[in-house]
Symmetry: D2
Subunit: 407 residues, 4 copies
Amino acid sequence: MKTIVKLDLDKKPWEQDGQIHNRWHPDLPMIAMVKPGDEFRVECMDWTGGQIGNNDSANDVRDVDLTQVHYLSGPIGVEGAEPGDLMVVDILDVGTFDDSQWGFNGLFAKENGGGFLTDHFPEASKTIWDFHGVYTTSRHVPKVRYAGIMHPGLIGCLPSKELLDTWNKREGDLIATDPDRVPPLACPPTSQSAVMGRLSGDAAKKAAAEGARTVPPRDHGGNCDIKNLTKGSRVYFPVYVKDGGLSMGDLHFSQGDGEITFCGAIEMAGYLDIKVGLIKDGVKKYGIKNPVFQPSPITPTYRDYMIFEGISVDEAGKQHYLDVHIAYRQACLNAIEYLKKFGYSGEQAVSILGTAPVEGHISGIVDIPNACATLWIPTEIFEFDIRPNADGPKIMVPPGVDVSFTS
Amino acid sequence: MKTIVKLDLDKKPWEQDGQIHNRWHPDLPMIAMVKPGDEFRVECMDWTGGQIGNNDSANDVRDVDLTQVHYLSGPIGVEGAEPGDLMVVDILDVGTFDDSQWGFNGLFAKENGGGFLTDHFPEASKTIWDFHGVYTTSRHVPKVRYAGIMHPGLIGCLPSKELLDTWNKREGDLIATDPDRVPPLACPPTSQSAVMGRLSGDAAKKAAAEGARTVPPRDHGGNCDIKNLTKGSRVYFPVYVKDGGLSMGDLHFSQGDGEITFCGAIEMAGYLDIKVGLIKDGVKKYGIKNPVFQPSPITPTYRDYMIFEGISVDEAGKQHYLDVHIAYRQACLNAIEYLKKFGYSGEQAVSILGTAPVEGHISGIVDIPNACATLWIPTEIFEFDIRPNADGPKIMVPPGVDVSFTS
Amino acid sequence: MKTIVKLDLDKKPWEQDGQIHNRWHPDLPMIAMVKPGDEFRVECMDWTGGQIGNNDSANDVRDVDLTQVHYLSGPIGVEGAEPGDLMVVDILDVGTFDDSQWGFNGLFAKENGGGFLTDHFPEASKTIWDFHGVYTTSRHVPKVRYAGIMHPGLIGCLPSKELLDTWNKREGDLIATDPDRVPPLACPPTSQSAVMGRLSGDAAKKAAAEGARTVPPRDHGGNCDIKNLTKGSRVYFPVYVKDGGLSMGDLHFSQGDGEITFCGAIEMAGYLDIKVGLIKDGVKKYGIKNPVFQPSPITPTYRDYMIFEGISVDEAGKQHYLDVHIAYRQACLNAIEYLKKFGYSGEQAVSILGTAPVEGHISGIVDIPNACATLWIPTEIFEFDIRPNADGPKIMVPPGVDVSFTS
Amino acid sequence: MKTIVKLDLDKKPWEQDGQIHNRWHPDLPMIAMVKPGDEFRVECMDWTGGQIGNNDSANDVRDVDLTQVHYLSGPIGVEGAEPGDLMVVDILDVGTFDDSQWGFNGLFAKENGGGFLTDHFPEASKTIWDFHGVYTTSRHVPKVRYAGIMHPGLIGCLPSKELLDTWNKREGDLIATDPDRVPPLACPPTSQSAVMGRLSGDAAKKAAAEGARTVPPRDHGGNCDIKNLTKGSRVYFPVYVKDGGLSMGDLHFSQGDGEITFCGAIEMAGYLDIKVGLIKDGVKKYGIKNPVFQPSPITPTYRDYMIFEGISVDEAGKQHYLDVHIAYRQACLNAIEYLKKFGYSGEQAVSILGTAPVEGHISGIVDIPNACATLWIPTEIFEFDIRPNADGPKIMVPPGVDVSFTS
């Protein structure tokens, strides 16, 4: 496999010969051109560009600079790609680096972005996950072991100028409804810490000022954090600019549906082996708006689950109208309470939900006023039996073992 | 298997010897008592109690009286069950009646309850699905065939008085925020068409006036419409009243995550074979709030899917904040546009999403401001290949074949 | 579903209006004609025609008359079927009778047919299995529970005269090599206990004298005992005579690969729902000799197994050349020894191997001189953890609980 | 992952610092010692030690020297391991080398070992398979693509002197029954081409003269060629000598049940990541004779198969008694005829059976006189639909594309 993006992990993202960018902008020059049918390797930094360490303090999670992220490798051009085409991307493989056999998961402090359960866990915390071939375990979360489902959290093609303007307009409108909110409603463009690949000078400054941040998933894909884009899957991306401009990064070793812990999955540096193709005029032929994809035949298979329901009544008992977000939060909180009965701390339980291959299903969406969401936890990831029985749960977590907090 | 609820499908729900009720209320008398460990059969009407016919007009869907629904069989008492226990319910089997080998799926008119996609499909429509052993097909939706995943859409234990009051309070508060909305935000208690089982006289009137409607899923389970409560699964229900009082109904032959068409899955009459057990004081032991369950080893297995993404930007291009409901709607609309390229009408495409074993995953819930949801359609349910290719899609649906509309 | 073969289980096989036969012969008259595309129900006796009782003595297994078996329902003709066609058979459903919710499994005495492990278990024994919806358990084999995979052990089309002659010739040649062997090498035609459907008089006598016994699988399918012909599967059978003549029976609730216990799987009476079609001239088009089939999407899914290897060195330490039969027997004996460590008797262990959905894989067939076979036992069918650990196994079977023997 | 066996693939097996051996003998010195709980990497040559080239001639397959094989890495000692223990081996990962992204599959000439179908395909032939991340394709076998299931074909612990003597005795007895057979019945010890690791001098000569060849699977495991020993699986090996002495090699990228083509699977060089543990006295505790194992949660999942039956009547129409070997051969021949209808040559069809993740099931083993075996081919590995339909098959293989033969 020919490596077309080769990084030096001991250097900073902006020292990687212009192969890294952290904003979406149509003016970013292609860093390499490939042909339809080509197969190639792309190396990626972890999404923070190396800000988080393999240690037992969450200070780095607390202090992470979110204007920097996400550091992406690309854009890569495909000869012949034109707006309106579908770029067919086979994720042939995802791998780790031999000298970097670990990843991290964390909860952001509420002041620094928070996350799905930030009202319940407002402090920064961190867990480190060691890789053992296909498996991962954590010294901070005992008695679980998962087979990894490595995938890029973030992948997509460059937006056109028109699409970029649409993004900035609609997200700006949202921010304007509550501009001082903590955490903010959205992340507007900012030149601070922008890394613009091979753009330089005024062009780089201009693009940095208007480039879309990489945080959310958007029409082009982007930060979808879909755990099923794993090795063996195939994705069809809309093309918006000449040559397409495929960028990728934010690799995960394992993650659950929803990436419940904002920071994030089990985050890692690594590489992607990619094959590209084109379906000319595919956007119109198939009526495509967002990317579509097909799963891999080699996703880990679990058979038995404990499944937790949640409905759209919030923690205070207030009724919401068909709100799946709240329903899923309740399912997660229900699962956390359950896991605590076996001795896990709340933070450990959250870390499991964020890193294990849990599934989050939209189970009911029409039965007014309650949405129903379900959280599926594979029972096989635990070293003990978590299913209910007449005797009740036993404490399985040794005292004193917990996630890392700030110091 | 001993049948403890035996119905006559030629009679009305209120003519079934008090074995049917359509409100949740703690005063409903048990219609049968069983012991922990018992196995028994419960017959169920379809959720409308027979209002929908096997014909080619959607008039009955348009005219359905929603104050009647859902007609449930029960409540069944379990000896020794007390508040705070967990009732362990094995769904040993779900079956159809030999002389009723069909089910229906429909879209409600917006004026009559609407549904998830009611702004796009405001008219009533209907499809009829014939059962062929484990499979179903429809004369209204050609070239698809699914293996059924029969399950009760609605099952749970009677609420206590306190829990009922909580429900009525919180749902009333929601309705009060927009009392004239069409469709309404929630369905308040109403005596109209209430069927109160073996309650009679003033007690029945009082209970009908305050009994909770069966429409939403709630803390006790209820109308969860979870497609995975299929034969072979095990559910743990919280017990709120002496003897528990388990009721069930709203059987489905097949359904997708979300029950996208409000009316509903492939709805049918049929029976449930049930085994019950108790975990004494299980609610506290395991920190249970909503039911938890384990899936069956014999759910249909599909391997390949077309997966559609949606983000929380609505049809008008407006940005919403981490709204999974909107993201899932976009994923569904994306899938509908895709299926239309093969010749399906929009209503046919919706019917497929509502009845096939599609999955709805909460894929991203933290990457502000966009939630990301995915809709998974098994490719194997189609008689033709729906995957993208360079030639583009071909029209596969014969002209003139469509769902039924009103006349 | 229209029932075209309706039986009275209180009557003998030969009192069923000629709908039952127990020999393969081209002259058997069709008992019903259907058209391609038709769906219909066929009721079946258990393979012994009711010789085995739901009790705790194996006397009936010891005394079973094997000249009677197997009692098949049919033959059913398909309009337009001609020799050389493929008959496409969808097994739409397989079901039990409401008043017959049990099945049996047994080991034949060595004197009466024996079986795969007859040298190790030469006495007749029996276990009774109760059905609980999709699950089965046995009072004779504690602490296991399986989801059923109901299927016909025996199904196929009538042979032509030429094919029948070929069978009789080749099997006769084999018998002639050791005509006095106990058990015999094969079962030759015999008029004794022959039931010839709607043939009568001399024609019946002649056909009984030359009709092939139903014991082995042959070119047309027949007694394949393939556990995967379950509901939802599709089989393509070669047609040898005008109208095809499809017969079926020997229903199983559950069985492992190999039907290790000759008598047999969990044997039961029940019904099959069938759909038929034709591929004209399909035998030549696809080069078909034996039936081919596709599995069902709703086979039970197990994920974890204990897998036992066996090689072609027999119990006496003698080396055989690439003999898979011996290798599989060793794998089975290895598994039996393992299960005995948890307290199961040898007969109980055999019963598990014969009735649970175990898999038997031909793992190595070229590495001279040893064939390698593997036996896969799903760990999930046990109520306890059977995987090895440092502490060693614990006795889990209560004393005094065992299979039934003769008295 | 610490690499404890580091090879230089440009050197010969006997130039690898004594880390390679190709005979089983108790006197082989450990080349490294590890502790229970250790994780480590072991590099392996392909089984022929580099005799087969990535080219379009089968001359090297024809000329392969079988006295050399198999080249194994090890033995590795585990501190504390004693005879009677079980060595718990987690196969954490299996990988390819970046500069060796291909493998080979071949049919041996009948004169040189032959194989399962050697009477039908007596000439040497070869196919080359390129790796594309998790997938493989071949320029010699068009229109198929598989996800790999990388695994060691050969792994096990050193035999004791007693066990070695048993092997040599029983295999010698077999050879003596037909000593001049071509191919031979078994491979006796020979000093020719023996590589004895770190043994030297007379000790090496003595061990070479009596060491067991690596061809067959035996009691200790060895050349089991079980496709399911893939990354993520766990194996329990009996220990026969102090320190255990675990050796491994013969890596496969993909293979079907039976390794139908003797030479062999998709053969490759690569590495294994291993974790070891011990169950003291586990052989007796669990009644273990041959290794037992548990599968991985990340085996490729296929759902739909074409399944071919075979019975124990040989190609000449001769009836054999319950011979699974012959039955499986018939199932394979049936599948080959079927695939030829789509344009594949017989050799291409065989290559698919040998390299794709096909399953070989022992379906019936008791229904005298016919054994029944089934061969399962995943339909998803083909780029076209191989299922039967009314129109019959179409030629899909371009003319002139075939396997390599000798020149």
